[in-house]
């Protein structure tokens, strides 16, 4: 309880200062898998209520980077993190912050749609609330409906809420996962290649959905699809071999990159 208070207090402090430009800031962020270093001194400031795309070739540390933003990286055996990640000005790696509280504030959607196979559509969306002890049926109904509407899934599933989540199509499952993440009312949404396992039509629907969520959430999306980064994001960061090579407005990165490495990658000369 004490640990949670620290984070919640600093959050309420932040409310007075709601014109904060940067939601997430990292300071010399390093990450390891055992002895292999996956991220090297990442310093980045991510703007609130905008979409930031993380691009780069496979194995460059894109996924590791966003998994450091909700303290999921440390769950991998032998994984380690050093440096600081500030969310609303609070270092989420400081000793008195509870990672579970961080994860409630920072939602995540994974590459492969992963609804809970043993739960209905309704319970999938309500899982984050129910398993944290919220029992009020009316409140749950309301949040499930709102989350499914936000994820553009309500009209497709409103009559089948008790069907298994795994019975939906791939694109619907991914929107279900977005609804599940939104239900716990996060402020930040991390998306780890959310459309790479989907067909183009389902993918384009998710892209449009992501853009529509920008007004309420700070979104960080990892993608290996450069067209996607260009279409949806406001800012783009290019990672290569664990280093942040370039970070700027998306239009500048794609039209006029400063680094040769970025230019080569965007032109498709490697990666």
């Amino acid at each position: 309880m004490n640990k949670e208070l620290v984070f919640i207090n600093s959050k309420s402090m932040e409310k007075n200062n709601s014109n904060r430009v940067y939601k997430i800031e990292t300071e010399n962020l390093n990450a390891w898998f055992g002895t292999k270093q996956a991220l090297k001194d990442i310093n980045i400031k991510i703007r609130a209520k905008s979409i930031t795309a993380i691009i780069g070739p496979s194995g460059c540390g894109k996924s590791t980077f966003i998994r450091c933003l909700n303290r999921l990286h440390e769950l991998v055996p032998n994984a380690r993190v050093s440096g600081k990640v500030f969310i609303d000005g609070v270092d989420i790696y400081s000793k008195n912050v509870d990672p579970v509280v961080v994860r409630r504030k920072v939602g995540m959607v994974f590459q492969k749609p992963n609804p809970f196979p043993t739960m209905s559509i309704y319970d999938n969306v309500a899982a984050g609330l129910k398993l944290n002890g919220i029992r009020d049926k009316r409140k749950l109904d309301e949040i499930v409906r709102r989350s499914l509407e936000q994820a553009w899934l309500w009209d497709e599933v409103k009559d089948d809420l008790d069907k298994p989540g795994a019975s939906l199509s791939g694109g619907q499952q991914q929107r279900l996962c977005i609804a599940r993440a939104l239900a716990v009312e996060p402020e930040i949404l991390l998306l780890d290649e959310p459309t790479s396992a989907l067909d183009p039509i389902a993918a384009s629907k998710i892209e449009k959905l992501i853009v529509s969520l920008k007004k309420d959430y700070t979104i960080v999306i990892v993608t290996h699809n450069m067209q996607q980064a260009a279409r949806v994001s406001d800012y783009t960061a290019f990672l290569y071999l664990g280093k942040l090579i370039e970070y700027d407005e998306t239009s500048k990165i794609f039209s006029n990159p400063k680094e040769e490495l970025t230019e080569n990658y965007i032109a498709g000369r490697f990666g």
């Binding site: 999921l72 992963n114 043993t118 298994p164």
Partner: protein
């Protein structure tokens, strides 16, 4: 490149080889069930299910006290063995990636192979002599020692089959680790865990040797947790030693009851844990 028909023939041969082996494997099983049913059915009547054993050497009497004893043993053993087995399995699967986990896993596998009569002697020394009497408690402890490694191993293996993406999805929602383990991972692995529990119950319900040294056997119905008690396997064993035809008949009947009991527990457990939301 081989000729088309040669490859097709090899495919056929592989299939037929598998099928033959399956048939060979089920012949003993089928003939045991057939023998038990054929010899056991004539023994079945109302007395058989309502009365204890009659006077030795005379017709009549039943196995009601043995059925009661076996049910009590299954209940008591499960009370001890199921929680310990499942929780140990959870530990090994979710937190056992270390030296201690390795030692526990090895010990557990050794324990699973232990001759049950040795476990019976152990329970005799540790429980029967301490209490000063043969008792269901001693029997349940001996059987729990047999049950725990089976459940631990099947639970661990079932939990490991749950993809890591489930755990991460749950943790990323800000759900605590223990909640993730019990409400997401264990629920997803439920079928495997239940199978393990049922296997272990079938195994302990069929044990005889450890019971000789722990519950002893009795002519009477259950009369207290520290008094000797009967069980179906003990009854079958004692009846088979008697030189009377009708005793053997009751023994077959008892065997039929034991098989049916284990089978019906299995079916009930499946029905109780059935869900339309599955992996």
């Amino acid at each position: 490149m081989e000729k088309y028909f040669v490859r097709k023939l090899k495919d056929k041969i592989a299939y037929i080889a598998c099928l033959t082996c399956v048939i060979i494997a089920i012949i003993p099983l089928g003939s045991i069930l057939f023998e038990v049913a054929k010899n056991g059915l004539p023994a079945i009547n109302i007395d058989f299910f309502t009365k204890g054993p009659g006077i030795i050497g005379e017709r009549g009497g039943g196995i009601a006290n043995s059925i009661q004893g076996t049910l009590i043993l299954i209940g008591l053993t499960s009370l001890i063995g199921v929680p310990i087995g499942i929780l140990s399995g959870i530990y090994l699967a979710e937190f056992g990636d270390n030296i201690f986990g390795k030692i526990v896993r090895l010990t557990n596998n050794v324990l699973a192979q232990f001759p049950s009569i040795v476990i019976g002697i152990f329970a005799y020394l540790v429980v029967v002599l301490a209490i000063g009497s043969f008792s269901p408690i001693a029997g349940a402890i001996a059987l729990a020692i047999i049950m725990i490694p089976i459940i631990t191993r099947t639970t661990e293996e079932s939990l490991k089959l749950v993809p890591n993406s489930m755990r991460e999805a749950s943790m990323a929602l800000g759900i605590r680790r223990w909640r993730t383990t019990f409400s997401i991972v264990l629920v997803a692995a439920k079928n495997g865990v239940v199978t393990g529990v049922m296997l272990s119950i079938a195994r302990i319900a069929g044990e005889t040797a450890p019971l000789i040294m722990t519950i002893l056997g009795s002519q009477w119905f259950f009369s207290g947790l520290t008094e000797p008690m009967d069980a179906l396997t003990l009854r079958i064993w004692r009846l088979s030693l008697l030189p009377y035809e009708h005793a053997h008949e009751i023994g077959w009947g008892a065997a039929l009851v034991l098989v049916t009991l284990v089978l019906s527990l299995n079916i009930i457990a499946r029905l109780l844990t059935w869900s339309k939301y599955r992996m």
